[in-house]
Symmetry: C2
Subunit: 181 residues, 2 copies
DNA sequence: ACCTGAACACCGTTCAAGT
DNA sequence: ACCTGAACACCGTTCAAGT
């Protein structure tokens, strides 16, 4: 006897919790249903299929990242903070990277983050196409780091690698800014 | 009536073919068995489980990458070629990145490639820990690029992004070499 | 040593039927 | 509108039994 009908918000929250607790392999629509006090089939009234459920969860977690004001401490610090925050988020949700690699590239939660990162690059002095490329380079590198982190690898050494690679990228970008007219 | 007993080599080859043709989602042990003219259970005589099958396939494809002599055309060219070749390989086998994200980080096929990339970094002048970090930075970036490439995104623009990001990283690494005693 | 057939405990998804 | 129960067509894996 459900007090209130299910809704998508509720489902997404349950999926994230289940993925965090059990991992991506053991997520089933049946288990998801039962966590919601309903049957698997009930979930299908609210979502199209399992893939949609994963897409929703994979986008929701991006909203956990707090976006700070870009005025003040310089673009290198801003980009570094954003990269570290994204990295920390991928560590909280180890299922995210595998889930994203199979599904939906562009969704609003992720777009929110990417827009802010791009703004940080524009604040640094990049414009147009180059701002886009700088944004993508940083994002791509953090994804690659998260990707290399699954099971086994020492987390400490990966954090250091992240820092090293990020410095290298920022130095390279700085060089491009300096070479501008 | 099998002429000859199955072997692992044969199984790995069949898995790669199946993954290339059908994608990772539709790989099943039953289908794999039937492609080999056998039953799913027969495969279990040769491998532990489905995960091992994926690990073997995910390592085998690294051997497709040809490794060139490092003498001659400079470290930037060498690293760029290696990055492009790895990238091309991930495009031939789009199932690889998702498969790797869940399974076994270090296997001989991959190690063979990484060792050569590290040698290229050492030829550039990096030593010890820094050579390791430089290697990992490049590798991480190519993984990130491959990761961002699944379904939808224009391949042309991603190739250009790869080139841009790689330049940025090489510039950043160059700066570190120049700042050496 | 190597393989088959059948079974177990699961899946995702659909769909009539209920309220 | 929203949910259940039962069913369909699949899974991965195990294991006795065959050769």
């Amino acid at each position: 006897m459900p007090r209130k009908a299910l809704n998508r918000e509720q489902i997404v929250q349950a999926v994230v919790g289940l993925l965090d607790a059990e991992g991506a392999d053991s997520l089933s629509m049946r288990q998801l249903g039962s966590r919601l006090g309903a049957t698997a089939a009930a979930v299908y009234w609210h979502v199209k299929d399992k893939e949609e459920v994963l897409v929703l969860a994979a986008d929701a977690v991006w909203r956990e990242i707090q976006l700070h004001d870009l005025e003040g401490s310089g673009w290198r610090a801003a980009v570094t903070t954003m990269a570290n925050d994204l990295h920390a988020m991928t560590l909280r949700h180890p299922w995210l990277v595998p889930a994203m690699s199979c599904h939906a590239p562009h969704a609003p939660g992720r777009a929110r983050y990417e827009d802010h990162l791009r703004a940080a690059c524009e604040a640094a002095g990049f414009t147009g196409r180059e701002a886009e490329q700088a944004t993508k380079t940083v994002l791509t590198f953090v994804f690659g780091t998260a990707f290399g982190e699954h099971k086994g690898e020492a987390t400490a050494s990966t954090a250091e690698d992240l820092a090293f690679g990020l410095q290298v990228i920022l130095d390279g970008l700085q060089g491009r800014l300096d070479a501008r007219p």
